[in-house]
């Protein structure tokens, strides 16, 4: 069957186990995948990156590191330690 897909991922190690065709990794907290509440500029940039890489031929299983980092607080780090929701 087959469909062209781009997968966002918040956990690169998990994506390396599943091996989707094309993934984009960004270091945001769970539940804030595209960025913070109200941060339309980052949301838009992330979704436009999805579209840009969708059109780009890449080897199977490529995981692209996007430049987005969560700098507001330590929510992501605490989530990754299962200390925050």
């Amino acid at each position: 069957m087959g469909l062209a897909t781009v997968s966002l991922t918040l956990v690169k190690e998990m994506t390396e186990l599943v091996k989707p065709s094309k993934a984009l990794y960004l270091q945001h907290p769970f539940g804030l995948t595209l960025g913070d509440v109200g941060d339309a500029a980052t949301h838009t940039a992330v979704l436009q990156d999805c579209l840009r890489y969708a059109a780009e031929p890449l080897p199977a299983g490529t995981i692209i590191d996007l430049p987005y980092r969560w700098t507001k607080d330590d929510l992501r780090e605490r989530q990754l330690r299962k200390e925050a929701h």
Binding site: T5, V6, F30, T33, L34
Partner: protein
């Protein structure tokens, strides 16, 4: 710190002592776009646990075996009609701005800006905690793929939460 180990230990301790990740040896082969983005019909697959408040049941968030069902979200759904049920993140925060986990409104804005051809008429929603994946892989994912094909979707964006 490897989150896959942290999460595996957590699920084993809290819910399923025999839990392990579903892994694949080889990557899925990408399917290239056959049109320009400006001609593509684009759908979302979200694992945010999105559902229609008035007509669909929320996902099961208390079950140790998760919930492998999916919900179809029509593209013209007002964001205020969408609920989120997921045990793994703060859904109240995301409900303040659905684009954080399910960028439905944003994708439609990108269509208006001419960045894509059009938004698909329907999007697919899962709840991300699915520790047993056999039925998902054998039955449900092919069913979702068929629904997207029926809508003549050219590109699917998978958005986790």
């Amino acid at each position: 710190m490897d989150f896959t180990q942290v999460e595996k230990d957590y699920v084993r301790q809290k819910a399923l002592p025999d839990f392990d990740w579903t892994c694949f040896e080889t990557p899925t082969e990408p399917r290239p776009l056959t049109k320009t983005l400006a001609q593509c019909r684009v759908a979302l697959v979200t694992t945010s646990g999105a559902y229609l408040r008035d007509s669909q049941s929320p996902f099961a968030t208390k079950s140790p075996t998760g919930d492998d069902s999916f919900r179809i979200i029509p593209n013209d759904t007002p964001t205020t009609a969408i609920g989120l049920s997921h045990p793994g993140y703060n859904t109240r925060r995301a409900l303040e701005d659905l684009d954080c986990v399910f960028p439905l409104a944003l994708l439609n804005r990108l269509q208006q800006l001419g960045k894509i051809g059009e938004v698909a008429p329907r999007h697919m929603s899962f709840m991300g905690y699915i520790p047993h994946t056999e039925r998902l892989l054998a039955e449900i994912a092919p069913q979702v793929g068929a629904e997207l094909k029926r809508d003549q979707v050219d590109l699917v964006l998978l958005v986790p939460s």
